[in-house]
């Protein structure tokens, strides 16, 4: 095991090589991947159609966008001049693969036209936490050196240990590479993955009293300005008419009063139950730095414990909210004493 810097180099090289091969063999028409971001502490998605452009692809630990979003149904489909559907190659870390598979389960995409370039993701940096610690100062450059993150500005240079500043979801991630379905995955892929998760990371929060939880949730979510960046970046949020844009009926107000913020986040969580693939993109793009990972983890835990389901692992299992069973647990139903 080398350090993060050399791991990144290996991943990047394998992405470039696989992308080049796929384009050369005409297996795909376009590659969706990551390239250098226009601002520091970020990376941008990029669409590549020519073999010589594959050098633009990169892997750093700031590839927080879930690329599956570009294949989700609300984005216009990719067609060539003759109106033929383009074959897409997509750089897939574990959660991108999971999102694609779950979209396929929901009959939103078809794996016929998709090739996943599987990589073994080594984690995404929690950029919001770094931004918070840098504060008002302007970040000009970020890089990975050995096992630490170097953040440079006009007159400062700070070093953050990589392990600690990983995204909370990446710390507990069990699916580093995309699961292989329909032989659509090249590179690093998981065959028939079995996931064991103990959800120890949220047990602290769960053991709090109702009042403590409310105070924490209120403190965290109050910063929300309802910009809906979390919705825009989410590969699972593809409804034609989102419930927050609905005005007949209006389910909750448009203000930033906490009651409305609560309603948004609660209903959003309800929508993502059994669908969220825990990519952490929502937290990474939040301009207010709200940590939504806690809710994400809880959703995963609920569906795992109640319905023994992990989203985006295979194409056969029907998601819990699309099915039912006579034997479902119903300990929460009220009974006569």
């Amino acid at each position: 095991m080398g350090d993060i810097e050399s791991e990144n180099q290996d991943i990047e090289n394998s992405i470039k090589e696989l992308a080049r091969n796929l384009l050369r063999d005409k297996e795909v028409d376009v590659i969706i991947g990551y390239t250098k971001g226009t601002v520091p502490l970020s990376s941008s998605p990029v669409f590549i159609t020519r073999e010589e452009d594959t050098d633009k692809l990169l892997w750093n630990n700031l590839c927080y966008v879930n690329l599956a979003n570009y294949l989700a149904p609300r984005i216009p489909k990719l067609y060539d001049e003759e109106g033929q559907k383009l074959k897409v190659g997509i750089v897939a870390k574990g959660c991108v693969g999971r999102a694609l598979i779950h979209l396929a389960v929901e009959n939103q995409i078809n794996f016929e036209n998709i090739k996943m370039i599987g990589i073994s993701c080594n984690g995404i940096i929690n950029r919001k936490r770094i931004e918070k610690e840098i504060g008002e100062r302007e970040i000009l450059e970020t890089s990975i050196l050995g096992n630490s993150i170097i953040v440079k500005g006009r007159d400062f240079e700070e070093t953050f240990p990589f392990d600690e500043y990983l995204n909370e979801l990446c710390k507990v991630c069990k699916v580093k590479s995309p699961p292989n379905v329909d032989d659509s995955c090249v590179g690093e892929c998981l065959e028939n993955p079995v996931i064991e998760d103990d959800f120890n990371d949220i047990s602290d929060f769960e053991s709090k009293t109702s009042e403590e939880k409310w105070v924490y949730i209120k403190d965290t979510l109050s910063a929300c300005t309802r910009c809906y960046a979390c919705r825009e970046v989410c590969p699972m949020c593809y409804c034609n008419l989102c419930f927050v844009d609905q005005n007949k009926p209006i389910w909750f107000g448009k203000t930033t009063d906490f009651t409305d913020i609560f309603a948004f986040h609660f209903n959003r969580a309800m929508h993502l139950a059994g669908r969220c693939v825990a990519c952490g993109a929502c937290s990474s793009v939040c301009p207010m730095g709200i940590d939504l990972n806690l809710i994400t983890r809880k959703l995963e835990k609920i569906v795992k414990e109640r319905y023994n389901f992990t989203s985006g692992m295979d194409k056969e299992t029907v998601p819990p909210m699309m099915s039912f069973s006579m034997d479902d647990k119903e300990e929460f139903m009220m009974e006569e004493d």
Binding site: F252, T259, F324, M333, E336
Partner: protein
């Protein structure tokens, strides 16, 4: 819904003895008939529930419940047919999955889980209906008024 909402706002109790207001969604085929049976059988139960008749417990969207809490109802009750007895065969089974997640999430967000209750009551169970309404009222009363969702503006 809006009419009920404005009613709930008017009904702020000024008496010393605080009484909760509970919004009850009853399914048309079982629970609503069960409530009817409780009525015609002259079984006493607390007058704290306000009934909304829905075609099936599967009609209940989590929005309804959140909206009711936001609008100041002290409690929400959803009642449907027993599993296997649904008029639409599986509506209540679909609903049960939703309710399980909803209840867990409410608890996680720090809302007292007892504010939102789910029950099954068939058309023949007038007595059971009354007993469970008594129980719900007691639970909600113990928690006190729903103050978490008072709008500042």
């Amino acid at each position: 819904m809006n009419e009920i909402t404005s009613e709930s706002k008017q009904m702020k109790n000024t008496d010393d003895e605080w009484e909760p207001k509970i919004l009850a969604f009853l399914c048309n085929w079982c629970s609503y008939a069960g409530a009817d049976l409780a009525g015609v059988s002259r079984i006493q139960y607390p007058p704290n529930i306000r009934v909304v008749r829905v075609p099936c417990s599967g009609r209940i969207n989590p929005y309804f419940i959140v909206k009711a809490l936001l609008d100041g109802w002290d409690g929400v009750l959803v009642s449907g047919c027993h599993p296997g007895d649904c008029h639409y065969l599986t509506g209540n089974l679909v609903a049960r999955r939703r309710f399980g997640i909803l209840k867990d999430l409410l608890e996680f967000f720090g809302i007292e889980p007892d504010r939102v209750n789910f029950m099954w009551a068939s058309a023949a169970e007038g007595e059971r209906f009354a007993v469970l309404i008594r129980k719900t009222t007691k639970l909600v009363k113990k928690m006190g008024p729903n103050k978490k969702f008072e709008k500042k503006w």
